[in-house]
Symmetry: C3
Subunit: 430 residues, 3 copies
């Protein structure tokens, strides 16, 4: 097998859309055995899967994909062509994805995990240069994109700050974009104005990634959020179809939740509970769009009610800086997602997410730090996933995803076994 | 042949200073055949040149260079020694170049084209570190130098912004320069004060490149401008000797045109028409210097008159921010180079250039966007040329130009066939 | 021998703590012969050491280290474990070092010298990413760390400026640190608040280096200062034990001297003369601590008195910006270390150091520029040493120091023989 057993099996379960339990039943093995095969190679309880199982799973998947192929004959060719934006290899919006293509992107992200976890190094993009153009400060996003490109072997040229010197002199986005295209091989652009990144994209044929265009979109964030949910559910033996997602906080201005709900809506039969202070409700057009796709939507101003029975709590920050002079009516301590609330409303396998940054100042009512040592808090597993997902985006847009597997070599240095002192250990099931 | 057929032939024509037509006649082949030999390898209409032609051209060039060698016995040793600044491998001014040495630099730039066009990757400077010190913001220039260094395999440490923290504490340029020399292998310096870059250069023995010292010089810009003119002329089958160049805009403060005219003056029998608003005329000392070298200079305030019959229109921005409170008398819409004006005054093979940024705001009278789809607009071919020219500068100053050819390997990713949606396709003749 | 003869011998002398003269006597050879063996390979007067001497020295060193091993049985395992900070591979304070471990770090720095001097290139950390987080501007320190990481083959993501966008939105250091840990493999952090870097370090398991936390520590500066003193003394044939060190300037707020004196105090029988304006004296707790370790301390307000007979003059800048409104009583021209003063008070083998930047403005009374051409001025040898020392810190914390030697290959480019026009040439004895 050219890919690891773990990647092979995860991929199979994802393609077949089966939980671990059902998958184990489908191939006639004990769930316990399956779990040991899914451990990282080299971990103590890892077991090799018998050859016959490999063949069996391969056949099931192939038959299934044959059926899917007939069903969706439109799907073919490289992924970057199928998710293209106006015929170009650019990522502007989550609208570019179908369930099929988003899962295909995530299979590439899975391939990146050994690199993101510092077990392997790749230089597949050696010689390529990224223009990381941040017209609005966003250190974490900038570094996440930059580090992802570096981990593929490329180099990064950064620009930060609110002004681009030449644009201050009256240069058009058209000129700026075309000029930069002669210097770099791909651009990530963050800009405070909605639509501006699309304007950049229009003026060039090189890959452009929207790193956030003000109230517009921030597709890589929504993608890493969905990837996190799927990965966590895979660990927990859950399916996303039919799951219950609670979205909490500013649902009106929070572009993150707008994009995320669109991606989640690609799945089947979800229940969304939307918990927001009065005046910060999810816009109607998104509610309608999501409802039309057959999902259940419940709106509430009561956090306890909204969280009840949720599989995922997705909390967001109320950006008080948006409301200078205005009152955010009803945004009180009752809106804080904290340990007591999670214990009271949810089971032991709920996951708690947040796009970060969270406001940890006194009286901010943002996601509480009292969950920091709780394994249900997935916020750092979520940010960690930014690297493999952004690596996958670059690899796909530049057309090198097929070269990654063979480019891997061992890291020379010795990284810590866990990145954070409070990182949860899931008995190898991550 | 160790170099590509295209590079070989271009080099030959440039050394012999012959147009395509005359070169074809000289070696006794049809112009059409020569054109197919000059196409990039792998393009559909590319043809291999017969071995006998290779030998013939080699002999012609060698005889010619033998003659030149006798004529200019002073010229010998590595290029970086011949263009040295006060005995050091530093690039401070266009005054360091002769016609011979500038053309030798451009042959190195030609070698860089497969890298700049993302067909090849080189790691020849792997391990080297560039200090890209911008004491004045200039994103495009900074990224252009940085990307050029990365494409040679090196790493870049950037500093941006108007203050260098230690200099604010009273540190001298001498100290800053010498300290940085212990950290990096070459420095690009942009600084708002004339002469400051020379002060940096004096305090170190490592290569320093002047990235613009206020009203002083910006030699890499003038070099890429000249390289663009020569490359475009080569495509058009024109010679620079005897050509007609129109310079338009702020010719008083625009250091770009001052440096460019000095470089152009290394050629023979040029005609310059200088078109500027009253008060922004080219300084007298440059006029005298250029005149003494046998070139024809005409000054006018009428754009239509100045452009008539030009081979090159070089437009520049009137930096209105320089004239706070002052009037720029006569700087009206009549000074705008636009499609109608170009159609009216020039032929189909004129090229329109601009150092960029151009001011595309309403009422700016800068180079019009209505030429964006016109193949005569060379401004983006011009900025694209910033990469190979800056790569050549680094390679020559660091003494690795001889290692580039053998360091090339194929790119792994798939770049777009054209960088910009409006890029002109010259039937393979670029 | 896998290491160069020069490194081997220097290492032996340092381990045995012997001057060149005594070492030559110990192994029964002429001092002159020893000097030629200590020259860089390839230099004209370099001689190969007879094999029998190699064996003899190896045996002496091994016997000595055997004795030391019995004496200090606690010391074992990789260096990074022995200098660990709260069990982690992080560098927060000079307090983490013993004389043994600091000298072991410097042997790694010696290994880095061929890279720092641009004779060799290493890619041992290829694929690793450094987060160079400067919450306070300090261009030279940032570039020094960045270039050091690049020279090991890694990539660098910088953040500069006084605000980290997400922290402005109320994000805790805990969150910021843990998030960055998912992106990068090591962090250098500079922050204006004392203790903040420790807070960063607590929230992550990846290597963190304190790049200066306000009035707190800046351990890499103290380490490169000590490394410089030892290297200069090795050249001069001096031992640090028993040496006379004069510290001049702001000894109250200057964290540099606080850390340096702690490291120096690891040696035996030093004499410190502390010269400061009234009110800027060294804090009492440091005086007591240093005195308890058996060192002699003399305080004076007279520069001439303090410098008399010193082996090292370590001058520091009085940061006048700290004293807005306040008077710095007695900080007059009499405090300026200049050529006349050094000639008057010290011998030809004193070395003059400064952490830089020095204030070269008129009336600043900082270290005079009239010593720039004087070989006793070691300030640029000192900053140059920032590269090998910081490379050693990264290599040790990431656990790759054992891989460096075999990763070396020749540089491709041709660096200048001396970095600065005023660099002293010590007849190969550097």
């Amino acid at each position: 097998m050219s890919v690891s057993q773990q990647v092979f099996l995860r991929d199979a379960m994802r393609r077949l859309n089966l939980t671990r339990d059902i998958f184990a039943t489908r191939i006639g093995v004990k769930r316990r055995a399956l779990d040991t095969w899914l451990l990282p190679e080299g971990s103590q309880e890892f077991r090799s899967m018998p050859e016959v199982v490999t063949r069996f799973v391969t056949e099931i998947v192939e038959n299934d994909s044959l059926l899917q192929k007939y069903a969706q004959s439109a799907q073919s060719g490289p992924l970057r062509d199928r998710i293209a934006y106006q015929g170009k290899h650019q990522l502007l919006s989550v609208d570019q994805f179908s369930r099929e293509s988003v899962e295909e992107l995530f299979r590439v992200a899975d391939l990146m995990q050994p690199i993101a976890r510092r077990q392997k190094v790749s230089r597949v993009l050696e010689g390529a240069v990224l223009g990381n153009l941040f017209f609005e400060a966003s250190t974490r996003t900038r570094v996440s994109f930059g580090a992802a490109f570096c981990r593929l072997g490329g180099s990064v040229c950064d620009t930060t700050g609110f002004t681009f010197s030449s644009m201050a002199k009256g240069e058009s986005i058209y000129d700026t974009s075309r000029v930069m295209s002669g210097y770099v091989d791909a651009m990530v652009i963050r800009h405070p104005e909605k639509g501006s990144v699309a304007e950049f994209a229009e003026a060039t044929n090189i890959p452009v990634v929207n790193g956030g265009d003000g109230p517009g979109e921030h597709p890589s964030q929504a993608l890493l959020d969905l990837y996190t949910i799927l990965t966590e559910f895979s660990r927990l033996g859950k399916l996303l179809d039919g799951a219950h997602i609670a979205l909490v906080g500013d649902l009106k201005y929070g572009r993150t939740v707008h994009s995320l709900i669109k991606l989640l809506a690609l799945y089947r039969g979800l229940t969304f509970t939307l918990v927001s202070p009065r005046g910060l409700e999810m816009p109607d057009y998104i509610l309608e769009q999501t409802g039309r796709l057959g999902h259940t939507i419940e709106q509430t101003n009561s956090l306890a009610e909204g969280l009840k029975g949720a599989d995922v709590i997705y909390a967001t920050r109320v950006q008080k800086e948006r409301f200078v002079g205005e009152e955010v009516e009803g945004y009180t301590a009752d809106f804080q997602v904290n340990k007591a609330m999670v214990d009271q409303c949810c089971g032991p396998d709920v996951i708690v997410m947040h796009p970060l940054p969270r406001d940890s100042r006194e009286g901010a009512h943002d996601l509480s730090v009292d969950l920091n040592h709780d394994s249900r808090l997935a916020i750092f597993r979520q940010t960690d996933n930014g690297i493999p997902v952004r690596m996958a985006i670059f690899a796909v847009l530049l057309g090198v995803e097929g070269l990654v597997q063979h480019s891997l070599r061992d890291v020379t240095w010795s990284p810590p076994s866990h990145l954070g002192p409070d990182d949860s250990v899931f008995h190898g099931l991550d």
